[in-house]
Point group: C2
Chain length 136, copies 2
DNA sequence: CATTATAACTTGCAAGTTGCAAGTTACCCT
DNA sequence: AGGGTAACTTGCAACTTGCAAGTTATAATG
C-alpha cells in the first residue's frame, strides 16, 4: 500500500488514469483541456512518471507526428477496481455532480462495469464510457 | 472521484486510515512510531483534516487525558474496499514485502476480508488484523 | 514555398507544502 | 515536587506546485 501510494498518492495521477480509462483521453491536449485545471508542467511530469512506472505508454501518432497517444498498460488497467471503489465512495459520502442512480447501479454491477472497462481496453475502444447495466 | 481525491490524494491520508483500520492504531504516538516516517506536523495536520472531513473522530481517553483515541466513522470504514483494491494492486504489480499467498487469498475472499474489517469496526476490536479466510 | 496554426512540451518565478529539529503544554506517576 | 510522556506547535530550509510565457517540431493553408 505504501508503495502504491508513493506512485499514486497525489492529486493528479489517478485522475489522469481515470481520464484515459473511462473518458478515452489519448492526448496531452485532451488532459490539458479537461476542465480539471492541471498545469501543463505538472501534467508533463505526471505523464512521464506514470510511463516510468509502467502504468501508461506513450506512442507517437503515425497520422500526425506532433501528437502522442497515451494508453494504459495491463498494470494501468488493473487500477480499474481502485477507481471504481473510489468513485462509489465519493458518490456515497460527498456531494457530487454525478447522477445518483447511475452510481447505485454501478455498485450493484461492479463486475459488469469492470468487465466493460476491460473490454474497452482490450479492443482499444476509446469512446467515452457510459456503462450499460442490464440490472439484475 | 475528483472530490474524493481532493481529500485523499496525498502521500499520507490513506496510510493513516489503513493504520486505524487494520493495524488498530488509536494514538498519535502509534502513528508517529509506525516506521513510515511521517513528520509530526504533517501528522497533526492530516488528523485534523480527516476529522474535519468526517472520516475519523478524535476523543480524549478517560484513563489518560493526555492521550487521544482516533477512530473511523462510517464514512471512514467505507474506504475499506478502496484500500483493499489498492493493496491487491500493489501486491500484484510492485515488489512488495507482504507474503504473496496471503494477498492472493485476500483477492479470492474480498467479501470475507471486508466483512471482518467491518465487524472489527462495529465491535471496536483493535487487535491487528491478520485475516482468517476459511478458503472455499 | 512562406505563413500561420497546433501539439507537446519547457522555463522562470512566486506561492504553497513538506520534512526535520527543537520547543511547548497539559497531564500522569512516584 | 520532579521527572516523564502524549500530543501537539514553531521555525526554517528544501522541495513541489501553479501560472504565464516561451520553444520546438510538425502540419495545414494560401
Amino acid at each position: 500500500m505504501s508503495i502504491s501510494l508513493e506512485m499514486l498518492g497525489d492529486r493528479w495521477s489517478l485522475l489522469i488514469i481515470r481520464d484515459v480509462m473511462v473518458r478515452g483521453f489519448r492526448t496531452f491536449k485532451q488532459f490539458e483541456e479537461s476542465g480539471e485545471g492541471i498545469a501543463t508542467n505538472i501534467l508533463a511530469d505526471r505523464l512521464r512518471k506514470l510511463e516510468a512506472a509502467g502504468i501508461i505508454t506513450a506512442e507517437v501518432e503515425k497520422q500526425d507526428r506532433r501528437s502522442s497517444s497515451y494508453r494504459l498498460t495491463r498494470k494501468g488497467i488493473d487500477l480499474a477496481p481502485v477507481l471504481l471503489e473510489l468513485l462509489i465512495w465519493g458518490a456515497r459520502h460527498e456531494e457530487t455532480a454525478a447522477p445518483c442512480g447511475l452510481i447505485t447501479n454501478m455498485e450493484k454491477n461492479r463486475d459488469q462495469v469492470l468487465a466493460e472497462v476491460r473490454r474497452r481496453w482490450r479492443e482499444r475502444d476509446s469512446t467515452p464510457l457510459i456503462p450499460r447495466f442490464d440490472v439484475g
